[in-house]
Each structure stands twice: as C-alpha cells, then as structure tokens.
C-alpha cells in the first residue's frame, strides 16, 4: 500500500512581485519511498515547486497561495520553515554558498546545533552521516580545501544527519564535472536504496540523472504539470522535445533512425533495452548519413609550446603543454575541475606569467605584451556575468573598454552600435542591465569584449546552469560569431554535449598535462582518456556497440552532423 507523502491539490502560487501566478493549479502526488525526477525548462516553475516543498515559499519568498499542499500530514505555510526542515532536507544547487561551517564537521552538524542536540550525540551522528557519503576522513578540513564534488557530499551529509523523510536535490549536477556528477547520482541512488527515503531530484540534465533508475518523471512547463509518467513512457513520447528538454542522445539517435519507441522496449536504460529490429534500422541510418568534408583551415593563429607554470617551485599546475589553434576554429579545452584549464587560459591572457615555454600569436611571441595589449587580440569571457558587469546601462558597459583606451567618442559610438547589432542587443541598447535575462547578460559581457575586436575569444563554461533553450541560444550565437565574423573561439567546459555538438576538436587536460588533442567524437569514445580526465562517455558510443557498428567514433561523428542539420533546419 503506497502512502502519499507530498500532495498538491489545485495548488496555485503567485509571487508578491509578479502579476501572474508562477504555479497554476498543480495536482501532484508523491508517495513514500519514491524517487521522482522533476524536469522543466528555466522559468517553468520547477524551482518554485521545490521551494514550496521545503518551505522557502512562502517564508523567504512571499506570495499568495491558493489550493492545498500537504507534506507528511502538515501544511508548510502553517507549519513554518523550521518544522518543514525536519521533514524535508534540501541540497541546494551551489555547493559553495551553502557551506556555512568553517570545517566539514561543523557544516554537517549545523542543523543539529540549531536543534540543541548535545555535543557527544552530535559528534557521533555527524561521523555516521559523513561516513555514508565518504567524507568522514575530512571532518577537520576547511571548505577551501575541498573539491566541488566533496562540498556537495558534505551538503548531502548535512541534510541526512537530521533524518528527514524527504530529500530534495535542486540541480545537483549543475557545478560538477561529468565523472563527479555520475558519482553523485550513484550516491543518491545508494541513499535511496539503503534508507528508503523519498527522493526528489530537480534537474534538466536528464541523461545524466537517468544513469540510475528513477520511478517517475514529472515534466513542468509554463507553471503547470504537463506529464507525470514513468521513464519508459516519457522517453517513448515526444513530450521532452516539445517542452525544450534535451532527450538522451541515444534516444535522439534511435528516433533519427526511424525507430518507433514503445515503453515495452524499456528505453530508460540503454543496456537493458530490447533493441531487436532497431539494430538494423540504426545500422541502415548510419550508412545513409554522408560525411561532409571538413573545411581545411591552414593559417595558425595561436601556438602554445612547452608551456609550464606553478604557483610555487614544487607543484606545476600546467606542465609542458603544447598545441596550436587555427584561424577560425572553434575548439574545446576539457578536463576535470582543477586540472589546469583555467590556469591555462590565464596564462594565454597574460594574467599569469609562465615559468617556461612560449605563446605565439600570429607567429609573434606575446610574452612582453601587457594584459591590456593582449586583450585586443584575445578576449576572455568569465563564467558568471555578474562578475564582469560594472555599469548599469548596456551601452555604457559595452563602451567601457574603449573609453579606458581613450578612443574618440564618435568611434566609440560606432563600434558599440556595430557590436550591439552583431550580438542582437541593439534594440535593448538603452536598457538597464539588471532587466535582462541571464542569457542576455551573457551576451552583454561577450559584446563588451568583442568591442575591442579580438581575433580569439576564450569562454569559461559559457552555458553553465542553463537549460536546453538558453544553451542552444548562447551556443548558436557563438557559432554565428565564429562563422560570420571569423572569430576563433576557445571553450573551456566540462559539458560533454557542448563539446561534441559545437567543437570538432578537443584538447584534454589532466593533472596539468595535455593528454589528448583529437576530434571530440574520438575523445568521447576513448575509455582511457575518459577515465583520466573525469569525462563521461557518450551514450551514442554504447548504442553503436550494441548495434554492432564497427566504428563507433564515425557513428558519433555522423550523428552530430545529422543532428546539427536537423536542428538548424528546425
């Protein structure tokens, strides 16, 4: 007998600052011990839904509630946020921000401290919780000494220590590299199996979550629930695509091959899926896709040779790296967090001085160029637009770099207008920046770099935390810049989809060394490299293997090419 633990009945919520309700007439029941995945594009209301469950709505985010919500027999807006925190444990998206303790132990203990648990009991419970997630040897470490994945595990321990019945994960994969993300999903699954707690995961990286089974997928769009089905049912339908959520790649491939997916064939798990007649269809499709000749690019724009750097004498963060980038290329630099990717980009931009090696731009050594001079050749766009924007109006922000260079006002006017047109921001030129969406802000920061007319653009995680629609919007814009303006683009990322879809070539860095410089498709089908660099192999590779295709790398390449065509036509 299944007992409902969370029950929304005709539930409507409107934020005080907004005219329209964000959640409209929600009816949803989640049963005890279930593992439910909630997906939906940005702005669909899925975060609001989770905030209703943990009590942030209406206590931190005020607004009007209509209808009924019952969680374990309690009504959140009557019970209060503190009582709800005993029932629902929330792991927030940003592992850094929610780390409130000065050490791991203290952070895990935080809820217990607030609950006046005695110190002896507290230490024991903290140790047990830490052990479950494997951080029990780090109890005395400070947050600065931990990796992103470890911080997230500490957050998990911090909610598990309370013994809540419901665990809520808000975009647990957003800040993790692929291998760490895989580990996190595994850990959530282990917690679910061992503790029988109710688990709710909110995430738009569907394929990565589905690495382990979930009981149900709830699709949220425009403030309502558009689907509440099993994974097999969802994947057999077109619901995900219709609402701007990316399907797992192997599902897209099967659909391109003309396979009619049914829930009976169990598409939720590629390894257990009954492919049957699909194998033939996939092979036929594979043969039918023509491979286009790659454009030949000859002139070299950036050459890095034997580059090394270390903050002190003992450890080299970047060690003997050499590669070359052609004019007009779009390329990825990948590797796990802390592998040296960011340091490499800082060396190229002149923020750090290498201990050894050379960086040649157009054949000329850049070592004597200042940061400011390099910025006119190579621009860098940081991950968080809020870290770059320093003016309140779009036009002022874009003009900033030119004003600092003492360019004549008429020239500034013209170059700013031109750049805004290229970036599709011209109509907003007199808007305040705070009124823009994240994607638009990102474009403002790109515009403020482009206005200096660099030939190379380095972008650090350009799409981090973005849903499929915004991801596509940002990446298509970059592709356009690359094709139409001929700007060479270097992407620093750990998003495997991005690397596969938008860059033909990838440079893989692990422990400060370059371990591979090859086509993206072959990187993501090379087990050895994948493991060393904490990447994750693409499901297309497994599909190719299961369909007895002898060259999986070519299969991946053909899929990407086909997918690009479909998407640019559709």
């Amino acid at each position: 007998m299944k007992n409902p633990i969370i029950q929304f009945e005709n539930y409507t919520f409107k934020y005080r600052t907004q005219k329209e309700p964000t959640l409209k007439n929600i009816n949803l029941t989640i049963y005890e011990g279930e593992k439910v995945l909630i997906v939906g594009p940005s702005g669909s209301g899925k975060s609001t839904l989770s905030n209703c469950i943990n009590g942030l709505v209406p206590f931190s985010y005020k607004g009007d509630i209509k209808g009924k919500l019952t969680i374990k027999g309690k009504t959140p807006h009557k019970a209060g946020i503190f009582e709800m925190s005993q029932i629902v444990g929330t792991v927030l998206q940003d592992p850094d921000g929610q780390f409130v303790g000065l050490t791991v132990g203290e952070d895990i203990a935080f809820s217990l401290e607030n609950d006046c648990v005695k110190q002896v009991e507290m230490k024991e419970r903290v140790y047990q919780a830490a052990k479950t997630v494997g951080v029990h040897e780090l109890l005395r470490h400070s947050p600065q000494e931990l990796s992103g994945g470890q911080k997230q595990r500490v957050s998990m321990a911090g909610v598990m220590v309370v013994g809540c019945d419901i665990l809520l994960f808000d975009e647990p994969l957003a800040n993790l590299d692929p291998a760490t993300g895989k580990y996190a999903i595994d850990l959530i699954d282990k917690i679910h199996n061992e503790s029988k707690k109710t688990i709710i995961i909110i995430e738009h990286r569907l394929e990565d979550v589905l690495y382990r089974d979930v009981d149900r997928i709830v699709v949220v769009a425009n403030g309502g629930i558009v689907a509440d089905l099993t994974t097999d049912e969802i994947l057999s339908s077109n619901i995900l695509k219709e609402h701007g959520i990316r399907e797992p790649l192997y599902i897209s491939a099967l659909k391109y091959a003309g396979c009619q997916l049914k829930k009976e064939s169990k598409p939720s798990n590629l390894n257990k899926m009954e492919l049957g007649a699909f194998q033939c269809a996939v092979r036929d499709w594979y043969q039918s896709v023509d491979i286009k000749e790659k454009e030949n690019m000859n002139s070299e724009i950036l050459k890095v040779s034997n580059l090394s750097f270390g903050y002190d004498d003992q450890v080299e963060v970047v060690s003997d790296i050499s590669f070359s980038i052609k004019k007009g290329e779009m390329i990825s630099i990948v590797g796990k967090n802390g592998a040296g990717k960011s340091t490499l980009s800082k060396l190229i931009c002149g923020f750090q001085t290498p201990t050894k090696g050379m960086i040649l731009y157009d054949g000329q050594d850049m070592i004597s160029d200042s940061i400011k001079e390099r910025a006119e050749k190579i621009g860098i766009v940081m991950q968080n637009p809020n870290q770059m924007i320093s003016k309140s109006m779009i036009k002022e922000e874009v003009a900033l770099g030119l004003i600092a260079r003492g360019v004549a006002p008429e020239v500034i006017e013209k170059r700013v207008d031109d750049t805004l047109r290229i970036c599709g921001l011209y109509q907003y030129r007199n808007w305040p920046i705070q009124a823009l969406s994240f994607g638009q802000k990102k474009r403002v920061t790109i515009a403020s770099i482009l206005v200096l007319q660099p030939k190379i653009l380095i972008l650090d995680e350009p799409t981090a935390g973005q849903d499929f629609r915004h991801y596509t919007e940002i990446m298509e814009f970059l592709k356009k810049l690359n094709k139409e303006q001929g700007i060479t683009i270097i992407l620093i990322t750990h998003d495997m989809h991005l690397m596969l879809e938008y860059t033909d070539r990838a440079i893989v860095i692990a422990d400060g060394k370059l371990i591979e410089d090859n086509s993206s498709a072959s990187v993501l089908t090379n087990r050895d490299i994948i493991e060393k660099a904490s990447l994750k192999e693409t499901s297309l590779y497994d599909l190719a293997l299961r369909c007895d295709i002898d060259n999986p790398t070519t299969f991946v390449e053909r899929f990407i090419q086909y997918d690009r065509e479909v998407r640019s036509n559709g």
Binding site: L92, G101, L102, F110, L112, E113, I371, R374, Q387
Partner: protein, 274 residues
C-alpha cells in the same frame, strides 16, 4: 595572502584552551596593560607575552604585515606625544634632566624619554597577546564562547560566518580585477589617483552584486537548516573547560591584581626612578 591573520590549527596548549579563557585573559591583560605605566610591571608583562607568543608556535609571516602597521602607528603616536606635550615626562616625574636643547620649548629630557619608552612598552605587551588571541582561537569556538558568556548566538555566528566567506570574496575580487584589467581598466600605480579610484568602482560594483547573490544563497541555506529556530543552540566545536583553563584564568586574575597593587602602591600609575 589568504592565510593572513586567520586561525590556523596547531596543537599547543594555548590552542587547546577554551575561547572563553583566552577572551578573559586577553581582556584582563589589555586592561592592565592600558592602566599601568609601571615599568617593572610592563617589563614582566612584555617578557611573558613574548614567551607565550613563542609557545603558540605562531608563524611570524602570518602577522608581519600587522606588526608593521602597528609599528607605523606607534611611531606616529610617539612623535605626536612629543610634538604636543614635550614636557609630559617632567610633569609626571616632577623633575627635569635636560640632555640637550632643540628649539623653543622642545628639550630632550630624560623624563620625557623614559615616559615615551613606557608608551612603547605598553604597545609591545598588548600586541603579541592580541595577535595570538586571533590566531589561536577557532572562530566557531569563539562564537560558542561568546554565547556561553550570555551574548546572543546570532552575533557570535555572524563573526564566524564572515570569516568563512572572506576567502571566497577575496577570490571573487581577484577574478573581477583580472577581467576588468583585461578590458583595459588600469589599476596599477602607473595611473593617477583619481583614475584609480574611479577604476576601483569597476571592481566594487560587480563584487557587490556577486556578494549579494552569495548572501541570498547563504541565508536560504541557513534557514533551511533551522538557524534561528530556538533561543539557544549547541555547538559542535565547543570545548569543555579543562584544568588548564581554570589555571590560566586563576593565573591571569591573580597576576592582574598583583600588577595593579604594585602599580598603585606608590600613589599613582607611574614608576618613578628619578
């Protein structure tokens, strides 16, 4: 840089003491240090504070900058005292032994030199103890201590949490600075001061925005985990009072009393060798 003036974990008996003990010790020590001008008392205190500083195994590099800044203020202080009241020593010690004459009312007298020597001594008795207090006290444990003394835990905790996020904000600051420099905003000494001040805004504005974002996350995270639920809370890093805590407190109270008695024994705060 990041390690400057932050708590660093070491295993000495001073580190093992409770925050409350160290706070009481620090307060009494400073009061005595401020009240007394008795050279004998100051001398003993100086000796003790240097021994304690040594025992805390504090790395001098961690405090070097602060010591230099304090030294600079001390210098200004000493010069200012002489400039505004060159006869202060004479007034205190009731005699005047001129060594040599400079100009107008400005004589160099033995009494004035001795008085200013005592001022310098006072600085040196308090500064090592203050630095040691900061470097050997775990901020969370300190928050717990303040709470024990009856101060609301939200106050103690806000100090601890500020310390938690200082390295993160420092990091943000560096990232923003680099990004702005790449855009051509020069913050080096090469440009004039007004331009540099204006450029600082280009960093502070984004820094405020990213910090606001952070505060939002942190306060939600704290609330979701029940911060502020009860009037009281317990502390993971709280320490039990041990024998050495009681001994240290008894020691500091007794020696403060003795120091005050010695100081005031001859009627005023000063020791008069003349």
């Amino acid at each position: 840089m990041a390690k400057l003036l932050t708590y660093s974990e070491k295993n000495t008996w001073i580190h093992r003491l409770c925050g409350v003990t160290k706070l009481i010790f620090f307060i009494l020590w400073s009061v005595v240090g401020m009240v007394t001008y008795d050279t004998r008392v100051l001398g003993v205190m100086l000796l003790l504070s240097l021994i304690l500083f040594k025992m805390s195994k504090t790395d001098y590099r961690q405090v070097a900058t602060i010591v230099k800044v304090v030294g600079f203020f001390l210098l200004i202080n000493v010069i200012a005292i002489y400039a505004f009241s060159p006869g202060q020593g004479t007034k205190i010690y009731n005699c005047r032994t001129v060594i040599f004459h400079i100009i107008g009312p400005y004589d160099i007298t033995k009494e004035q030199l001795f008085y200013e020597f005592n001022v310098i001594l006072k600085y040196f008795t308090v500064v090592p103890i203050a630095l040691m207090f900061i470097l050997t006290t775990n901020p969370s444990e300190f928050a717990a201590s303040l709470n024990k003394l009856g101060i609301k835990y939200t106050i103690g905790y806000s100090i601890a949490i500020a310390l938690r996020y200082i390295p993160d904000v420092q990091n943000d600051f560096n990232e923003i600075k680099l990004a702005q420099e790449a855009r051509g905003i020069d913050m080096s000494v090469k440009v004039s001061l007004p331009t540099r001040l204006k450029s600082m805004f280009a960093i502070i504005f984004p820094l405020i925005f990213s910090s606001l974002e952070r505060i939002d996350t942190v306060s939600n995270a704290m609330e979701l985990r029940g911060f502020g639920k009860n009037k009281r809370r317990t502390w993971y890093s709280e320490k039990k009072f041990s024998k050495s805590d009681y001994l240290s407190i008894i020691f500091v109270i007794l020696s403060s009393v003795i120091a005050i008695i010695i100081t005031f024994y001859d009627g005023n705060r000063f020791y008069n060798p003349f």
